[in-house]
């Protein structure tokens, strides 16, 4: 039985996604270079890394605001809604599939449909990333871009230090998310089919 093709990723979403991915890459590379800068040698010259990190951060922010707005207007936000009743059970079912079912060729417990774009684990991770971590990394990023806006002293510690700590921890978690996200994109019909979908819009 041949599965019917679904048009799941409209143009605005694909543009947002790839712009987001590109900015993520720039921010990770420049961010790492800044964090591990040294006299003996730095991956990217400090001032250049600062410049591109700032530019990419601003583009990412605009892109995020666009995503929130477009999600609201287009109705795409329905895919992110979590129904709490039975959610832990659904999470476990999906988790079991990834650690066992996929190896024994079980059918996907929550296959993609017009009504369900994300499986429960995807939904949870995307909600956490887009609506918790992205705001945190954007707000702390602007705190570092405009250091005078930070509280000077928080319980004897520099406020800007705490802002940066939150920024780099969130940045690290988002980097890990990106690696895992790319790996899970190989779970399509073929290794490259999900990547192709994000270019064509058709799943």
């Amino acid at each position: 039985m041949s599965e019917e093709k679904l048009y799941l990723y409209p143009v605005w979403l694909r543009i947002w996604h790839w712009a987001n991915a590109l900015m993520f890459l720039v921010l990770i590379i420049t961010g790492l270079s800044l964090q591990y800068s040294g006299v003996e040698g730095t991956f990217i010259r400090f001032d250049i890394a600062v410049k591109y990190h700032n530019i990419a951060g601003i583009i990412l922010t605009i892109n995020f605001l666009f995503f929130v707005l477009a999600n609201r207007i287009s109705g795409n936000r329905k895919y992110y809604r979590i129904k709490y009743k039975g959610f832990p059970k659904r999470l476990m079912k999906q988790f079991r599939y990834y650690v066992y079912g996929v190896f024994v060729h079980e059918p996907k417990p929550y296959p993609i449909s017009e009504k369900r774009k994300f499986n429960p684990l995807q939904k949870l991770s995307y909600v956490m990333v887009m609506f918790v971590m992205m705001p945190v990394i954007i707000i702390t990023g602007f705190g570092l871009l405009f250091p005078e806006t930070n509280i000077e002293n928080v319980f004897g510690l520099s406020g800007i230090y705490l802002t940066d700590l939150l920024h780099i921890i969130t940045g690290f978690v988002l980097s890990i998310f990106m690696i895992v996200h790319i790996y899970f994109c190989t779970f399509g019909k073929t290794l490259g089919s999900d990547f192709k979908s994000m270019f064509t819009g058709w799943h």
Binding site: L34, Q35, Y36, S37, G38, V39, T42, F46, D47, V50, Y98, V102, F103, V104, H105, L144, P147, E148, G156, L157, S158, I160, Y161, D164, L165, I168, I169, F172, I176, I179, V180, Y183, T186
Partner: protein
């Protein structure tokens, strides 16, 4: 003799001081401590009130909290100043240089006065301006007080020390005492510096403009502008040069018990690249490694079971 409790403006240390020369100095301060002074003019037969030359005013409260707080004015100035009007020839009085007192001073051996002088003679302040530039240009003997080694509030030290540089470099009246050219605009010459205001609140001018000497708390060899620090990573790195300058007095260990590199800096400020946490670095590497290994194993099993 005057006894006062003096807050000294630093920390909360309150020490009892006995001002041996307060009475004697009062004779000077009653005129030179105010914007106006008055005297009886015999010829006119009346009391006259005049304005004091602003450059000859010494704030007594600043003087009594300065390093020279227990000095008599006559320790440096001629006794003939006791007479009023002051004799004209006193305008040409040669004042003592710092080393006249501090040279070979065993009491403050650790201050390395002679070495400070040697370093100063190598600096642009001395090589460009010869004897016109003396210690007093930066260290007003009436008001100067040490900060870096006594004040635990780094921000106050930074503000005080930068104020010394800006008293010339942002004040054309004083600047042109020794040079004819127009005072360079420090805001403009430093416009390449990102977050300029933040940098100036958190580091002293000398961090970038003075040569760092391991055996000196404050280097006095101000370098030509071409040699000033311009590479961000000289501060924004784990081996931040600030540890050898601004935080030199506070650096006792390279890593605190919580695992922070350069913890001395962290209590007062935060410098990207210089403040890293050993444990966070380790945890992030472990997590990253586990994710990569996990994906590798998962992917391999998927291929095998295909």
């Amino acid at each position: 003799m005057l006894v006062l409790f003096n807050g000294y403006g630093q920390d909360d240390a309150v020490e009892e001081r006995v001002y041996d020369y307060a009475g004697e100095n009062h004779k000077c301060f009653k005129c030179h401590g105010h914007k106006t002074f008055h005297y009886y003019n015999d010829q006119m037969g009346q009391e006259v009130r005049e304005r004091m030359n602003p450059y000859y005013i010494v704030d007594s409260s600043e003087f009594y909290t300065s390093n020279h707080w227990n000095f008599s004015c006559f320790d440096c100035h001629s006794y003939e100043y006791e007479n009023f009007p002051h004799p004209n020839e006193l305008r040409f009085e040669q004042l003592p240089a710092c080393l006249d007192c501090h040279g070979g001073d065993d009491t403050y051996e650790d201050r390395n006065w002679e070495q400070i002088n040697d370093e100063f003679l190598k600096s642009v302040h001395s090589t460009k301006h010869s004897i016109d530039f003396n210690c007093n240009m930066c260290h007003d003997p009436h008001t100067y007080k040490i900060n870096a080694r006594t004040n635990e509030n780094i921000k106050q030290t930074i503000q005080y020390d930068n104020g010394i540089c800006l008293s010339c470099h942002a004040n054309i009246n004083k600047y042109q005492l020794i040079v004819d050219f127009v005072n360079p605009n420090v805001l403009k010459t430093h416009d390449w510096l990102p977050n300029q205001a933040l940098h100036w609140q958190n580091v002293r001018c000398i961090e970038c403009h003075a040569e760092i000497k391991e055996d000196m708390l404050i280097s006095h060899n101000i370098q030509p502008k071409e040699k000033a620090v311009r590479k961000c990573v000289e501060c924004h790195s784990q081996n931040s040069l600030l540890l050898a300058s601004l935080y030199k007095h506070q650096v006792k260990e390279s890593r605190s018990k919580y695992g922070f590199f350069n913890a001395a800096i962290m209590n007062n400020s935060y410098i990207i690249g210089a403040n890293r946490n050993y444990y966070l670095n380790l945890i992030s590497l472990i997590i990253f490694g586990l994710v990569v290994v996990g994906i590798g194993i998962h992917g391999t099993i998927r291929i095998i079971k295909k």
